[in-house]
Every structure is written in structure tokens, then in C-alpha cells.
């Protein structure tokens, strides 16, 4: 049940952006409208709440110190940005 609710919420987010009207061109009149469409949304920077180490050795040293599991998010380039 909970999973269905989450899926519906996710779909609602998809619908929100998927129905945006495609502008004919950029003008001073629609400058803010296009800017608002592109700009980061409320949840787009949630991943920033996590303190990411950029190398495995720094993560391993800290995980050892804190006695916590080490999460490795590996992706071509830097997965936090630029993709």
C-alpha cells in the first residue's frame, strides 16, 4: 500500500514537468517563466544533505573511525554533478 502511494507521488512529479508548454522562443516576456522551469526544484538538491567523500581512501578511513558501513556511489565522472 505504502509503495503504491510512493509510486503515485513519483508519477505526480513526472506529470508536473512532462506537461510543461514548449515555448516558441526566448523573449524578455517569458524570461522568468523559462528560468523557473529550468531551475532546480525543491527536492533536486536532497543528495547534498549527504556528506560525500570524493575518494575511497577518505571514505574508508572515516567509516573505520565511525564503525559504519561504507556506501560507494560509482559513476563515470562525478555522480554528484555534471551529468
Amino acid at each position: 500500500m505504502m509503495r503504491s502511494i510512493f509510486n503515485l507521488m513519483a508519477m505526480a512529479c513526472v506529470v508536473h514537468s512532462a506537461v510543461a508548454k514548449v515555448p516558441e522562443s526566448l523573449t524578455w516576456k517569458n524570461f522568468d517563466e523559462i528560468s523557473d522551469y529550468v531551475r532546480l526544484k525543491k527536492n533536486d538538491l536532497n543528495y547534498q544533505k549527504i556528506s560525500w567523500f570524493s575518494t575511497v581512501i577518505d571514505g574508508q578511513r572515516e567509516a573505520q573511525k565511525q564503525d559504519k558501513p561504507l556506501l560507494l556511489w560509482l559513476y563515470f565522472g562525478d555522480p554528484r554533478a555534471n551529468c
Binding site: A20, V22, V56, L70, L71, L72, F76
Partner: protein, 333 residues
């Protein structure tokens, strides 16, 4: 892009990971491409050992391992539609597995030492405070039919950075500070604007011959003391038919900014671009379907440089920025 959006941008997952894990975001390709002497060191050996249990070894994905180098679980779920809840469940299972291990099993006898470092610390790259640091956000408009797999789906956004030295930033302002004065912005800025893909999704390689038009003009429209209000107008037309890039972009830029001449920096900057992207050759790992032409917008604004942005450089940092800038940012120490 997809795991960021559907896993770590999920508020519950982000809180859970923050509380219970020590996290690393890194490039599997960078680790796999290390020279042999770096691979011989403890850091790479730890990574290789801890991912021995993963299906593809050191490969893209979300993994949980112990500080002792034991593989626990791969936590990706769903493709191409990522199942956020399942990923969360896998992370919870990983945590339970970790907690059920005896301390001697989950922890190393001693942590890796600094001389066992294989990978350069990216967070050593620190752009000087005097540089103008711009964050760019890019998002496509809806098209039909579109699938969530496609990087052009509007649920995805691309973040990038554009760094300018004080000298280059000054070329964004007319030399003569009088209302009504106009000028073209400097060639270095124009090159970043043309070549660095800030205005579109993906990272297409553009050559000089692909630049059919690149223009960016600035005008001083008002002044108050040492503050100058600026307006920008520009256009960009790229068309490439190379082996690596068969695509085009044609778009327009409008922008506003306030230049503080006393502080020699921008008080605000807000540029918007909007254009048509034609990907004549669609890549199966980036797109789905047969839609070649889409519309895409981008926003350039002063980078808030969030605490967790350390080490993140502009995407074109390796090839699009000078050695002098790299030295100033500490990347060539």
C-alpha cells in the same frame, strides 16, 4: 543522473544514508584507468577486494561494503525505471547485515594510511575567492513520445560549473562604465559558452568548425554609485557532422547582471538560454525512441557553492581550462 534523481534526491533515502553510512561519490572509470603504480597501492587494492563480490567488479552502481573490505550488497534496483523504495530496502538490508557482523569482521585491523592513496584528492581543487563561479542548470522540455530512460526527459537536470578569473569576468562588462555603452563579451567566455555544453544535456564534443555562430553582447542600462545594471543578448548555433558528434544546437541567450565596480565582482547574474537541439544520431545509452529534435533551456547564476560541492569542478576542467587556472586552484601542486 538517474540514481541522483530517484535515489539520493529522495528525502527519506537521503536522511537514511546521512545517518547510517559513510558515503563516497567517485568515478569507477577514473579508478579503473589509474596507472599501475597507483593500482598497486592500498586504496585501489581495497576497492578491488571490496567489490570482488559485485557482478562486474569496479563498475558503476551503488554498493555497500565494510571498512574491512567485505562486499555486502549492490543497492541498485529497477532499470530503466529506478525503484526508489526497493533501493531503500536494499540499503536497510545492507545496514542490518553490517550490524550483525562481529567487529573483527566488519572493521579493518587498521585504517588505510595516507601513503596508500591511489587517487588524487579532488577536493584539493579550490577555486580562488576572487574567481566568478557560475552554476549552470539545464533541463529539456517535454517531447512526444518520451520515456524516463531518456536523458532529455524533463525530470532530469544537468548541473555544471563555469569558472572565470577576475580578468575574464571583467570582459562581461563594457570597458567604459557609462549607461548605454555596449560591447561583445571576451573570447574566453564565448568559448566556454560555445564548447562546454552548458546550454544542452549531455557532453557532446564540439570542434571550432562546428561553431556557426556565437555571439554575446552586453549593455549597461543603468548605474547607481558603483553598481551597474547590465543586459545581455546572444545567440549560439552549433552544427557538427564529425564521427563523434552528429548533432546541432541553435539557441538564444538573454541575461541580467549587476556589476559592483568597487568590489570588482558581480553582485548578481542571471542568464537564460533556450534553444533547439537536433541529435541526428541518437545514442542508445542516452536516449529512447526516434525523436531527434527537442527544446532545452538553461540558467546561469552565481554559484551558491554549497558545503558539499567540494571537489566538483566544471565538466570541461581537464581540457577547457588553462594550466594557469589549474595552478591557481591547486590542481597542479
Amino acid at each position: 543522473m538517474k540514481t541522483r534523481q530517484f535515489v539520493f534526491n529522495d528525502a527519506e533515502v537521503a536522511e537514511f544514508v546521512k545517518k547510517n553510512f559513510v558515503s563516497v561519490a567517485a568515478s569507477d572509470v577514473d579508478y579503473n584507468n589509474l596507472p599501475d603504480d597507483a593500482k598497486a597501492k592500498g586504496e585501489f587494492q581495497f576497492l578491488r577486494k571490496s567489490l570482488t563480490g559485485a557482478a562486474n567488479g569496479i563498475h558503476q552502481g551503488i554498493y555497500v561494503v565494510t571498512p574491512s573490505g567485505k562486499f555486502i550488497k549492490r543497492c541498485n534496483a529497477g532499470w530503466p525505471h529506478i525503484d526508489t523504495r526497493k533501493c531503500h530496502d536494499l540499503l536497510k538490508e545492507s545496514l542490518n547485515t553490517f550490524r550483525s557482523m562481529p567487529k573483527a569482521e566488519r572493521l579493518a585491523t587498521q585504517p588505510l594510511s595516507q601513503d596508500q592513496r591511489s587517487m588524487h584528492r579532488k577536493d584539493m581543487v579550490q577555486p580562488p575567492a576572487s574567481w566568478t563561479k557560475i552554476r549552470t542548470t539545464t533541463r529539456s522540455y517535454p517531447f512526444s513520445p518520451m520515456e524516463l530512460f531518456d536523458q532529455r526527459h524533463p525530470d532530469y537536470y544537468k548541473l555544471d560549473r563555469l569558472w572565470l578569473t577576475p580578468e575574464t569576468a571583467r570582459t562581461l562588462v563594457p570597458q567604459q562604465l557609462e549607461v548605454g555603452k555596449t560591447s561583445d563579451v571576451g573570447s574566453r567566455v564565448l568559448r566556454h559558452f560555445s564548447m562546454d555544453n552548458h546550454t544542452m544535456l549531455g557532453c557532446a564534443p564540439w570542434s571550432d568548425s562546428a561553431v556557426k555562430k556565437a555571439r554575446l553582447r552586453v549593455k549597461i542600462i543603468a548605474a547607481k554609485g558603483q553598481l551597474y545594471q547590465l543586459r545581455y543578448e546572444g545567440g549560439l548555433h552549433l552544427d557538427s557532422d564529425s564521427r563523434w558528434n552528429k548533432s546541432a544546437y541553435q539557441g538564444k541567450l538573454l541575461g541580467k547582471a549587476v556589476w559592483d565596480d568597487e568590489g570588482e565582482k558581480f553582485k548578481s547574474l542571471h542568464w537564460v538560454t533556450y534553444g533547439e537541439r537536433n541529435q541526428r544520431e541518437l545514442r542508445r545509452n542516452e536516449t529512447r525512441g526516434n525523436v531527434h529534435i527537442t527544446h532545452v533551456g538553461s540558467v546561469f547564476e552565481l554559484d551558491p557553492v554549497l558545503p558539499n560541492d567540494r571537489g566538483i569542478t566544471p565538466h570541461s576542467w581537464a581540457y577547457g581550462y588553462s594550466r594557469e587556472m589549474k595552478a591557481q586552484a591547486g590542481a597542479e601542486k
